[in-house]
């Protein structure tokens, strides 16, 4: 997947598609063109063959007429015996194509002339000679040229032959029977023959122009080769002997069709030794002599034009596709140029340079849209970063303000221990650990009128700034109310009234306030919905205060809070806490619980307030085991040392 460009991908797809389409079109075109060429060639071949047949017939037909006329003249006794030879001589004189002529009579037709009588006129050089056929060595009436017309009562073209004794040229003999009347009966009397040179066939056949190297050949009714470009075949081979020698059964069946006088144009399913390659053949028979003309077409030449066109087409396609590739590459490059610019800009932006100048794209298309979106994104990002910086600094500011708030809040509660070095009857220790920067827990203690020790612990509903503000209000109200009051119920009732007034947010404080008379050890307290504190008696006995029936302050302004009195003995301690202690949770949401709290208090009944609270802190830390502190934790322990009164 290394650097595969979009252009390459598209070009590959488009080219594959084009090549596919072209292949289909080309196949169809090729098929139809080939069929057309085949049809044209066939028509041309048939025309050519017919034309050749006509040319040959034009020579042979007049020749056929001569013996026919002589025969009829003989039959009508027009020709007398004496005038035969001069007549034949004049025929030869007038017909250059006729090489010789004979009139052969039945044996002993003229008893006075003996068994044989056949005057024969023939050319010898430029002159015309006369002789007579027949003798003991040449009993002509047993020859084919005599026997066949006699038997069939019809004219006959002999198989071509070489006139070896004479001019040594290819000849054929046309013989026709003649009849005379003997005793009034039409009786076969002999045969009139004409020998024709077939040299003219060579000329006609060799004049045939078939494609570039195609050729024509002529076979006799027995398949003997009469003309062929290969002179060795002529009169020496037949189409069947050639087929056999070359083991070409296809040629044999064509030969059979040809001697049977059939005609056809077809792909030749044989190979020719004379002409290599795939061949087509057209053959047609001559009506008179029953010879057959075969015309051979080399397929490579037949479809040469098609091949040429194919090559041209291929070159055109390759050229066209190359052009298309170049075109696509240019288009894609034009399209993707902005993308590349954008991509490098994007990297700069990613590295934090928001002011990088983006490329200007005015293509009025999706690319421009993308670029616009990009510019928008860049702007938004820059703005976002600015906002983020502002927010972060604002947050830092708030955090630092919260830290300061916490310091102020902490400053509001007493945190110097021991607080009253000059009051030996009382010792106090307290801690407050907020879950957030500022919390809603509070504790407070102070001395009223010199011998009344007032202490309070409270927990504002909720956390954070609202709770801390409510806590501050509560603490301030308590201090101001207790300035002139020493009754817990009055203080709490008054506090509740002030807090409930216009308390739209329905925040509330669980609040425990006690006032201990240092001289008598009498504790008066009021519990407004706060966790019951624990009293640790001097003898180590530990009990929890009763649950309160008074609701937290800040809810209903005319709620009536009452106070309870309890006589403390020397060494009695009171352990106060908020629900952050009893409900400290670990990761499994398991609460610290009242029982654990009571156990730890019991185990540390003799400990100093400071040690008890530290011990409790350790136990809480062990319990939560690092889990986030969810609520403020506040603890306060008070020891009443009544013995100092007596001393």
């Amino acid at each position: 997947m290394k650097n595969r460009t979009l252009a390459a991908t598209i070009i590959r797809s488009v080219l594959l598609f084009c090549i596919g389409i072209f292949a289909v079109i080309f196949s169809i075109y090729y098929y139809y063109t080939r069929e057309t060429i085949k049809e044209t060639t066939r028509e041309n071949a048939i025309f050519l063959a017919n034309n050749t047949v006509n040319q040959i017939e034009q020579v042979l037909n007049p020749i056929e007429k001569i013996p026919d006329i002589i025969a009829r003249m003989m039959e009508s006794s027009f020709l007398t015996e004496d005038s035969l030879i001069p007549f034949l001589q004049s025929i030869l004189k007038n017909n250059k194509t006729i090489f010789a002529s004979a009139i052969a009579y039945e044996p002993s037709y003229f008893p006075e002339k003996g068994l044989y009588y056949a005057p024969y006129v023939f050319r010898q050089g430029d002159s015309i000679s006369t002789t007579s056929l027949g003798g003991e060595n040449y009993e002509y009436f047993f020859m084919d040229w005599y026997q066949i017309p006699k038997m069939t009562n019809s004219s006959y073209w002999s198989e071509p032959y070489f006139d070896e004794g004479g001019a040594n040229i290819l000849m054929t003999t046309y013989s026709t029977p003649f009849y005379t009347y003997k005793n009034g009966v039409r009786t076969f009397s002999g045969v009139v023959t004409i020998d024709v040179s077939l040299e003219f066939l060579k000329q006609i056949m060799s004049k045939l122009k078939i494609l570039d190297t195609g050729y024509a050949f002529l076979i006799s009714r027995n398949g003997v080769i009469i003309t062929h470009p290969n002179q060795k075949y002529v009169m020496n081979e037949s189409i069947f002997s050639i087929a056999k020698a070359n083991n070409q059964p296809g040629m044999r069946s064509v030969g059979r069709n040809m001697v049977q006088g059939k005609s056809n144009f077809a792909s030749a399913d044989f190979k020719s030794k004379f002409k290599s390659g795939k061949l087509w053949i057209n053959y047609i028979s001559l009506p008179s002599s029953h010879w057959s003309i075969g015309v051979i077409y080399p397929e490579s030449e037949m479809f040469a034009s098609l091949r040429k066109i194919n090559i041209i087409l291929m070159l055109l396609v390759v050229f066209g596709l190359s052009l298309l590739s170049v075109f696509i590459t240019r288009i894609i490059n034009n399209i993707t140029k902005p993308l590349k610019l954008l991509a490098s800009s994007a990297r700069l932006i990613a590295s934090g340079n928001f002011n990088v100048k983006l490329p200007e794209i005015k293509t009025h298309d999706e690319m421009e849209e993308l670029c616009d979106s990009f510019i928008y994104m860049q702007k938004e990002l820059a703005e976002y970063i600015v906002t983020l910086k502002d927010t972060t600094s604002a947050k830092e500011k708030i955090e630092s303000e919260l830290r300061i708030a916490r310091e102020i809040q902490m400053a509001m509660i007493p945190h110097i221990f021991p607080p009253f070095p000059d009051l030996p009857q009382i010792d106090v220790f307290a801690v407050l650990k907020s879950a957030k920067e500022v919390g809603g827990d509070l504790y407070d203690f102070f001395v009223i009128d010199g011998d009344k020790f007032c202490f309070a612990i409270g927990d504002v509903s909720g956390k954070g700034v609202p709770a801390s503000l409510f806590m501050a209000v509560t603490r301030t109200l308590v201090r101001s109310i207790s300035d002139k009051e020493t009754s817990p119920s009055v203080i709490v009732t008054s506090l509740n009234k002030s807090l409930s007034d216009n308390n739209e947010s329905s925040m509330f404080v669980t609040f425990f306030l006690g006032v201990l008379d240092l001289k008598t050890g009498l504790l008066k307290y009021c519990n407004a919905g706060h966790n019951p504190p624990v009293i640790i008696h001097g003898n180590g006995e530990v009990t929890m205060f009763e649950k309160t029936k008074y609701i937290p302050v800040g809810l209903f302004e005319d709620f009536d809070y009452q106070e309870i009195s309890l006589q403390l003995e020397d060494g009695d301690k009171i352990f106060l806490y908020t629900d952050g202690v009893s409900e400290a949770e670990n990761v499994d949401n398991k609460l610290f619980g009242d029982d654990t709290l009571m156990n730890i208090v019991s185990q540390n009944a003799k400990a100093t307030p400071r040690d008890l609270i530290h011990r409790m802190e350790e136990e809480i830390a062990t319990h939560v085991n690092g889990f986030t502190q969810s609520d403020d934790i506040t603890m306060m322990t008070i020891v009443y040392d009544g013995k100092h009164n007596r001393s």
Binding site: G440, D459, V460, S461, G462, K463, S506, M507, F508, T510, N527, A528, G529, H530, N531, P532, K547, T548, K549, Y550, I551, P552, L555, F556, D579, N589, L591, S630, D631
Partner: protein
């Protein structure tokens, strides 16, 4: 936390499950106020599935209670788990809420 509200002919039954603490007290408040502002005159809050409640959650209870008192309606709690009941007891809230042992009693009461 999961809150389901079912409005019947003469009361609305709200079922709260899970924990109601500082993080979702606002969401709980919105759900409850939607019932109150919807004109319900009697709301039964089924706390059978309520595992934990913080003071922020208690505040929501109080807001609903105050609003119901203002329209002379009724806000009944039922099926409090012992730990939750303990919190109500400790904070004295048991005295200002109508708490029932089961749903039928809460609907009737």
């Amino acid at each position: 936390m999961n809150v389901e509200i079912l409005a019947a002919a003469d009361y609305s039954l709200v079922t709260v499950e899970g924990r109601v603490d500082t993080t979702n007290a606002n969401e709980f408040e919105k759900s409850m106020l939607s019932v109150v502002d919807g004109g319900a005159t009697k709301i039964v809050l089924d706390c059978a599935g309520l595992n934990y409640i913080s003071s922020s959650g208690l505040r929501v209870f109080l807001i609903v209670q105050k609003k119901m008192i203002a329209i002379k309606g009724k806000f009944a709690l039922c099926c409090l788990q012992p730990e939750i009941k303990e919190i109500f007891d400790i904070s004295g809230f048991s005295s200002i809420f109508s708490i029932y042992a089961d749903k039928e009693a809460a609907i009737k009461g």
